[in-house]
Amino acid sequence: MDIANQANLTTYAKGLPFSEFMRDATDDHTRQLELLQHAGEWLDAYHRTKVSETRIFQPKHAVSYYHDLSEKIQAGDLKIAAKPLILHGVERLSELTTKYSDQQAVSAVQYGDFHMRNLIFDGTCLTGINISRNQAAPVGHDIARLLLNYTAILRGSKEL
């Protein structure tokens, strides 16, 4: 590493972006699930490099924020695309909140930009190539980043 010039050298991961394998399996949801589970295994191994603490999951502030948004959308104060989808999502969030609030969550060092192009796959081995954060966060943040990337690119809104 050369800090002054902001230059570095790393090993090179052979293979293709994970997203290519996911795209190839567009019509094979079983294969996509296997691949996502593989990515989950990878993320688990990465998070275990620095587990920081356990916390109690309390999403009430986030949920309250989405409820406020929902009210603004319904009142017409906020214009958005895909209105029914967003409103349904907020409703679903409320249901899930009841189920998962106050459970134990684990914080670990965050990968950051954990999307399908930041993993390289050679058909057997999955390699992480682009850590972008250096702070602790609930492990769900990285999981959500990957799943949002997957659904946004490879799933239609009707499937959500």
Partner: protein, 100 residues
């Protein structure tokens, strides 16, 4: 390693820093080949990367970031990768790049 003198500011910066990076990584100065991997040059962001290969040491990615200038963050990010790379439990199915 560079077959032709680079013409862009990014290429020149990468060229100029290359021998120092090799020295730091305790790798030989000669015997490398390279191909360009990516380049981005905006007002606030400028970085370039190369796939470099040495017949005895294998393949690496060489990256230089001209903008943003954030040396402390750059170093912290690299040290995080170094630490994670040391601790990461590699298997036949799971791996993480190693900083040199």
């Amino acid at each position: 390693m560079w077959l032709a003198e680079p013409t862009t500011k990014l290429g020149k910066a990468a060229h100029a820093a290359w021998s120092g990076v090799l020295e730091e990584a305790q790798l030989p100065i000669v015997g490398w080949s390279y191909v360009s991997l990516s380049k981005r040059e905006d007002k606030n962001l400028a970085h370039i990367s190369y796939l470099v290969e040495h017949p005895r040491h294998g393949l690496f990615k060489y990256r230089l970031q001209l903008r943003t200038r954030a040396q402390a963050a750059f170093a912290a990010h690299y040290l995080r990768l170094e630490k994670a790379s040391r601790v990461f439990q590699r298997t036949a199915r799971l791996s993480l790049i190693k900083p040199m």
